[in-house]
């Protein structure tokens, strides 16, 4: 490709359980405004906006219909992505690489406090074969967790270590919703939602927004001293019917990772990636996704968490921000991973900064049991 796309500014709200004080528009603007202030740009200068939100969470059948003013999209170009926010970043990048647009604002917003999670998730399932069973994403994830733990001998303690690590990391991130001082025993004694998943194995209900500005590499250098380049990006979907998948594997992630690494020239991820932000809605997912991302062999992620390699100060810190489990809403979660990767590469992650981070990985998911994965490699 002739030119690369670069991120020049990111903004995030603090993630909170209930932002009843703000409309969706106001919430999105909190994140957008940070990007404008950082660059001195005004919304009238953008060629296009890409937003990410979901109709059922917003309670309207066109969830982006009321945010035009805060993304510069009144009498301008706007697209909505309704999967994960990382897909919106991808779409923003594609607009830049197309050559048709030079400056794009990307925004994700969701208030999970506004609707009933289990009902929205149930309605995502095939109406004839799955929906009538009353499944939601927790019960589906629980079947994946069980199969994965069975196949590879992953223990509940190893899953709980993810929870302890990430909520601990969240204590250093002022935007995180749920910084917690907890132990493995606390996780293992929290109430069972759907076995083997317990309350503390799952992410909390969260409200928030994230935004970023994507432009050409050339323009980026004029807008900021610290542009972050998108070195590789890929998405991959797999089949919906849960019985068609080996739920102990994440084939879509393996494929998305392979393409993203190839674009970015990554051959040895452990050596070449300095920090990773992955979307773990449930504790077992961080372990599974690390295998899919090639941080270890299949079934070895339990040993990886035991080794401490993914802690702050370890060889490859995973989720220094506290991760999704510390509170990010759906749609926003994957974009927040990209935003956190950008902060790390710019050396702006404050108390959760990974020293001298030069290459970062961001990952997002959509659907039950990680049906869709997006992987992005960023560098400075």
């Amino acid at each position: 490709m002739a030119e690369r796309a670069a991120i020049v500014a990111v903004g995030q709200t603090k993630y909170q359980p209930n932002r009843a004080d703000a409309s969706e528009e106001e919430l999105a603007y909190e994140a957008v405004k940070q990007c404008l202030e950082a660059t001195g740009l005004s919304l009238s200068e953008f060629d296009a906006a890409v937003s990410c939100s979901q109709d059922f969470w917003d309670g309207r059948t066109i969830s982006n219909m009321n945010i035009q003013r805060v993304v510069g999209a009144h009498l301008n170009d706007e697209d909505k992505v309704c999967e994960d926010g990382i897909n919106a970043v991808y779409a923003g990048m594609a607009r830049i690489l197309s050559g048709h647009h030079k400056l794009v604002i990307v925004v994700a917003h969701t208030k999970e406090s506004q609707a009933e999670k289990s009902l929205i998730e149930n309605a995502a399932f095939d109406p004839a074969l799955l929906r009538q069973l009353g499944l939601d994403f927790v019960s589906a994830a629980a079947m994946q967790a069980r199969r994965y733990m069975y196949k590879y001998g992953i223990t509940p303690e190893q899953c709980a270590k993810v929870v302890v690590k990430n909520h601990g990391n969240a204590k250093k991130n002022p935007l995180a919703q749920a910084p917690l001082d907890i132990t493995v025993e606390d996780v293992l004694s929290s109430k069972i939602l759907s076995s083997p998943i317990r309350l503390l194995d799952a992410k909390p209900i969260s409200d928030g927004a994230c935004a970023m500005i994507i432009t050409t590499e050339e323009r980026a250098k004029k807008l900021t001293k610290k542009p972050v380049l998108i070195l590789g990006a890929s998405n991959c979907y797999e089949t919906h019917y849960l019985g068609d998948r080996d739920l102990a594997e994440c084939e879509a992630l393996v494929k998305a990772t392979s393409t993203a690494y190839s674009m970015a020239g990554i051959r040895n991820p452990i050596k070449e990636i300095d920090v990773a932000e992955v979307s773990e809605e449930y504790s077992y997912q961080e372990l599974m996704w690390m295998e899919g991302l090639g941080f270890c062999s299949k079934g070895e992620a339990g040993k990886l968490i035991d080794s401490g390699m993914t802690k702050m100060g370890g060889k490859l810190p995973v989720n220094p921000s506290g991760g999704v489990i510390s509170g990010n809403p759906i749609c926003v979660a994957g974009m927040a991973r990209v935003a956190e990767a950008v902060l790390q590469l710019r050396g702006e992650a404050g108390d959760h900064q990974v020293k001298n981070a030069r290459v970062a990985l961001a990952h997002g998911i959509t659907g039950a049991c990680g049906q869709h994965h997006g992987v992005m490699i960023l560098g400075r």
Binding site: A20, G59, L119, N122, L133, G134, D136, A142, R147, G243
Partner: protein, 156 residues
Amino acid sequence: MATVTEKLEGMDVWIYHGRIYIPNTYAAGAVGSQFLIALRDKKKIMGMRCPTCNRVYVPARSVCKDCFGQLDEWVEVSDKGTLLTYTVCNQPNPVQPVEPPIVYGIIQLDGADNGIVHMLGEVDLEQLRIGMRVQAVFKEKREASILDIKYFKPLA
């Protein structure tokens, strides 16, 4: 629905408690309909064989996920199978067909190459294990629904 002003940390905020009421119909499709009708009329679980992969998929579907080819070779699979994974769901939601705790499972039926997602019943929770053999229990009154299979019970 009610419109109210609520107090949030000392601030008055206007909150609309709404509900979007949109009735829908869904078509299971030509193949999906036949699968559901076979449950109702014959208490048979029908799959579809892919001529390219030679794999049998249950419930029957019209397109293979791997080679994307159109399928038309109907195969009856067994009502008995092996439990691939399960969960005991304690969380209630308004659309569950029975009261929690609900045991959900994925079962590979004999003669099928994938799993069918359903519930388990007549099972001692302590006995649940991956690999256990189970058998479909059909409802007396059936209406061409996935719930015509009441659940899968452990094979003695």
